[in-house]
């Protein structure tokens, strides 16, 4: 059985088939990239997995468990974290508290304990803080800990979003265009981090990306989509040479 599986996943908006009977599987510990022209349904698949949209039909399995009907907040609790294409950070909070929200799925304290800030809450907070610090170290975010998000440049925000997802200690991470808006140097950093996430942290990565050089460098397998349908699946080189993929990008 695969680690993560989507079976005949469809999302229809009226007559528009944003995602049309897409099936794919992600093996544990691999980096799988989804590519495709604009409007191919890549981000819609992510929104289906994180339950922002409800699939029209089809099922999603994670660790042999059917998660199609789970509420959105439980998806994170199962160990699936995500980033967003257009950064969705908590603007008016510090970097630290943004990252601590990423720890939310590990919080065990009750409201009344928090009101009194009992020793259990305090020790939990310190544990969260330690874990967050590990992520900060991993992604070189030390200079920004106490800065407000609203004052930070785009490139840094992108990294913080990745950091927030990592803070939840996910098993599977969904990266929605991790390199969009980043310069060459930042994209290089991102590709190292994505590979380190796989090798050091043992996280399975599912990623939507337009930058083919990044896709080639990091992915184990690639899926090409167009008009909500799977065009090709295989190694990066295979997919790029597939006639349907070439046609979709360059025209027949």
């Amino acid at each position: 059985m695969s680690y993560f599986r989507a079976e005949n996943l469809s999302l229809h908006f009226g007559g528009l088939k944003a995602v049309d009977a897409v099936s794919f599987a992600v093996e544990k510990g691999e980096i799988l990239s989804i590519i495709g022209p604009n409007g191919a349904g890549k981000s819609s698949i992510f929104n289906l997995i994180s339950r922002i949209y409800r699939p029209t039909s089809g099922r999603i399995f994670f660790e042999d468990q059917d998660i199609t009907e789970e509420p959105p907040y439980d998806i994170a609790r199962l160990g699936i974290a995500r980033t967003f294409q257009n950064i969705e950070l908590f603007e008016n909070a510090t970097v630290l508290s943004n990252l601590l929200v990423g720890r939310h799925r590990h919080s065990t304290t009750q409201l009344w304990q928090e009101l009194l800030f009992l020793p259990s809450v305090r020790s939990n907070e310190k544990l969260h803080r330690r874990r967050v610090e590990q992520v900060i170290e991993f992604l070189d975010l030390e200079p920004y800990r106490d800065k407000l998000i609203s004052g930070l440049p785009y490139g840094v925000r992108k990294v913080i979003e990745l950091a927030r997802a990592l803070c939840s200690e996910p098993k599977l991470i969904l990266l929605d265009e991790p390199s969009s808006g980043l310069n060459v140097e930042e994209t290089d950093d991102m590709s190292f981090w994505i590979r380190d996430m796989k090798s050091e942290l043992g996280i399975t990565v599912l990623m939507v990306e337009h930058d083919m050089s990044l896709v080639n460098r990091v992915s184990d397998r690639v899926i090409a989509l167009n008009y909500g349908r799977v065009l090709a699946m295989g190694s990066p080189a295979e997919v790029q040479q597939h006639p349907d993929v070439v046609a979709a990008y360059l025209g027949a």
């Binding site: 994170a76 995500r82 969705e88 508290s97 800030f117 610090e133």
Partner: protein
């Protein structure tokens, strides 16, 4: 300027980042504790109102400032707390019991208001909370067997552990102060733990909060319940302070006053609730003073610039007539809100921080420090 070197994770959790805070808040608390010995009874009474308004302000900050759910219904929560106290008092329920019962009941009703509010945002939520407030006001006026209708209810003098505590006594002031301080400490505790961070997350991006594992609906209801419960506690004190309550005390105008408290104080910090409460409690006597003295003053000025006694007299009576117009107070409140939103969106506490920074950085303060920055486009699709 002081630089903080953090050496322990504890440094991020502490309530007081450094000893300077401890000293200044210690002095403030000491001054508040000895206040009854040197302030006039009028100012003491105003101080009690500041405590009550600030408590409601903190409650509203939790809901509006930190969770981002606007409410114009807090006068209703205050009323429910006050009436619960007054009703239970009739059956000789002791103070601690009806105090807790009032908070608990208001909290439950707050949660019930929170449920329909789950699907509403922004202006629609404001309208929903206004209608809730109007419904409560109507119930208070009509449910005569419990609330005594428009005749209102008399609230007996507070008796705590067999000791009567008159509403003008220092003990009552200390009680209000204690409730305020406990509320603030509890709220600060909440804000530095997962629940508080979930609130802020919901305020800034519901989509992201959800995908980080925050049960948005649950936390919105929690926020409503906590905010309502605190307001209920304040309502008990409010009832005792006024010693008489009737439905027309808990109108929309009171809800708007609470909004003014946090808007003028500053919606991003608990300091704002206290500063806003001081502002709103002190503006009332100031307006009364203006109303009484303005006509004479303006007539005097007109006279010095050569207006005859007849003209001065007519100016005086015209100004006096204008000053006693109905609804002028509401208009003034409205103008104050508009001016603050336009020119001081961070409120009084924001202004205080700017002044502090000016002196800390002197002579290097840059005027553009607090200019609002360009905000990156956020995805509206997933809302």
């Amino acid at each position: 300027m002081r630089f903080l070197f953090k050496t322990d994770y504890e440094d991020d959790i502490k309530l007081f980042p450094h000893s300077g805070y401890l000293v200044s808040y210690g002095i403030l608390l000491a001054l508040l504790l000895i206040a009854p010995y040197f302030l006039s009874s009028y100012l003491m009474s105003q101080l009690v109102f500041v405590c009550i308004y600030a408590t409601v302000g903190v409650a509203l900050l939790i809901l509006t400032g930190f969770t981002g759910q606007a409410s114009l219904g807090h006068a209703a929560f205050l009323a429910i707390g006050a009436y619960t106290a007054a009703y239970l008092q009739k059956y000789n329920v002791p103070f601690p019991v009806y105090f807790l019962a009032a908070g608990g009941l208001t909290g439950i009703i707050g949660a019930m208001v929170g449920f329909p509010a789950l699907r509403l945002t922004g202006i629609y939520l404001v309208i929903a909370t206004i209608s809730f407030a109007l419904i409560v006001e109507e119930i208070l006026a009509r449910w005569e067997s419990v609330t005594n209708g428009n005749e209102g209810m008399r609230v007996k003098t507070l008796s705590l552990l067999g000791v009567t505590v008159p509403r003008d006594s220092p003990t009552f002031y200390y009680l209000c102060l204690a409730v305020l301080v406990l509320t603030i400490v509890g709220t600060l505790n909440l804000l530095r733990s997962p629940t508080g961070r979930a609130f802020v997350a919901i305020r800034d991006s519901e989509t992201a909060a959800r995908s980080m594992g925050v049960n948005v609906a649950l936390y919105k209801v929690k926020s409503f319940a906590i905010s309502a419960a605190i307001t209920g506690f304040a309502g008990v004190l409010f009832a005792h302070k006024l010693s008489f309550i009737s439905p027309e005390m808990f109108t929309l105008q009171l809800s708007i006053e609470f909004i003014i408290v946090i808007l003028i104080g500053g919606t991003f910090s608990l300091h704002g609730a206290v500063l806003g409460a001081i502002f709103i409690v002190m503006i009332d006597p100031f307006l009364t003073y203006l109303k009484d003295d303005m006509p004479g003053m303006i007539a005097g000025i007109a006279a010095t610039f050569g207006a005859g006694p007849a003209a001065a007299g007519s100016i005086k009576s015209n100004v006096a007539a204008f000053a006693s117009l109905n609804g002028l107070k509401g208009a003034i409140y409205g103008i104050i809100i508009v001016l603050f939103v336009l020119f001081e969106p961070l409120g009084l506490y924001g202004r205080w921080l700017k002044i502090k920074l000016f002196f800390q950085l002197f002579p290097l303060y840059k005027r553009a420090t607090f200019k609002r920055q360009k905000i990156y486009v956020k995805s509206e699709r997933n809302r």
